[in-house]
Symmetry: C2
Subunit: 214 residues, 2 copies
């Protein structure tokens, strides 16, 4: 392990590109460690071991565990925003837009980041935490916008958009708790199944409370 | 605070009943602290302060933070199982059963426990952790049973029952991350809205992927 660079093994690419790719691999491995052992219990040494590089090589790319968890969540939010942007640019009805936004986030987050550990306030300095919360709130607001658009256009049944968006976020944010890259479902399958289910819940028709016990 | 007993303030009830009620209040306050500060950062002293009792009074009921987190999750699983049992006893179609099971859990968990902090493996001794996982797996299996019954009876569209149950669990388990007893929605409203949305997602008809971008 004296020559950590030798272990990264990538050829012919611009420096910035190599850096980005390596950073993504670091985030992916770190997320795996966090999800397995918990954030508190995971040490930088565990992440380096998971990557098969030395701690020195790891520190060349990231300063601290705090930076890693911030970058993990920041990358997940980038994927989320990408999805919502793609959706907003479509001329399709709200149900298709919502499907596109959710599928993109779920598939991308699962595939590229193995999901990511659940963030709690104590993990990050207040400044970094606020930055993520601000972007997360924006994402939530834009998803809610698509839901409201769908209710207005009658693509969706009347609902409480704030609550249903929280239900969607919960379903998606929970994925890292059970997802394994060795599992039976691919990120693509998970993305499609979840997005379909979460969009259908908003549909016109379907279940209404009735029956003896409700 | 020299006389902690004086602060509990309950009269005329059997000893066991008083003990149970107090334990539930402890779990509720502890869950609030965990959700606010994170489990690791919360000390027994914080929970005692939240309750307005001395640490000695708190230790009279629970031995440790580990016991509290175990009891929190155990109580949440009791509520979950109660709901699924009620549902299984009904003669109604699967959509009604599922609605009853989910609503009972969401409303009960939110109302009685303020939800509960997300459990990670490191928090508990392996034996206690395994015990919770065993019961959680049973809950998951029984919810899946209702979904499969609904698919078989065509109350629900064909789906991947394992995935949709994981989506439901995620939506529900995420509630503690945003729920506040001072928020605008009551536990009853949250239970109804979530259960309706999560059951509808399984319905026949409704959204199918289509449109230019899918």
């Amino acid at each position: 392990m004296g020559q950590p660079q030798a272990r990264w093994n990538d050829r012919g690419a611009t420096r910035q590109h190599v850096r980005n790719v390596r950073l993504e691999i670091i985030l992916q491995s770190a997320a795996r460690c966090f999800n397995r052992k918990g954030y508190q219990a995971t040490k930088m040494g565990d992440i380096a071991r998971e990557l098969g590089v030395s701690k020195a090589a790891l520190y060349y790319y990231v300063k601290s565990k705090e930076e890693i968890i911030f970058q993990c969540h920041s990358a997940a939010l980038d994927v989320a925003m990408e999805g919502v942007q793609m959706a907003e640019a479509l001329a399709d009805p709200a149900d298709v837009k919502l499907y596109v936004a959710l599928r993109h986030f779920i598939e991308g987050m699962t595939d590229r980041l193995n999901g990511c550990v659940v963030l709690t306030e104590g993990m990050l300095s207040p400044r970094l935490y606020r930055d993520l919360v601000r972007r997360r709130d924006e994402y939530e607001r834009r998803l809610r916008g698509i839901v409201e658009e769908g209710v207005a256009s009658e693509a969706f049944a009347p609902c409480d958009p704030k609550m249903v968006v929280l239900a969607m976020l919960g379903a998606m944010n929970w994925i890292p708790r059970w997802y394994s890259p060795d599992g039976e479902r691919t990120p693509k399958e998970i993305g499609e199944t979840f997005a379909r289910y979460l969009v259908r819940g908003l549909g016109q028709g379907g279940f209404h409370e009735h029956g003896s016990a409700v």
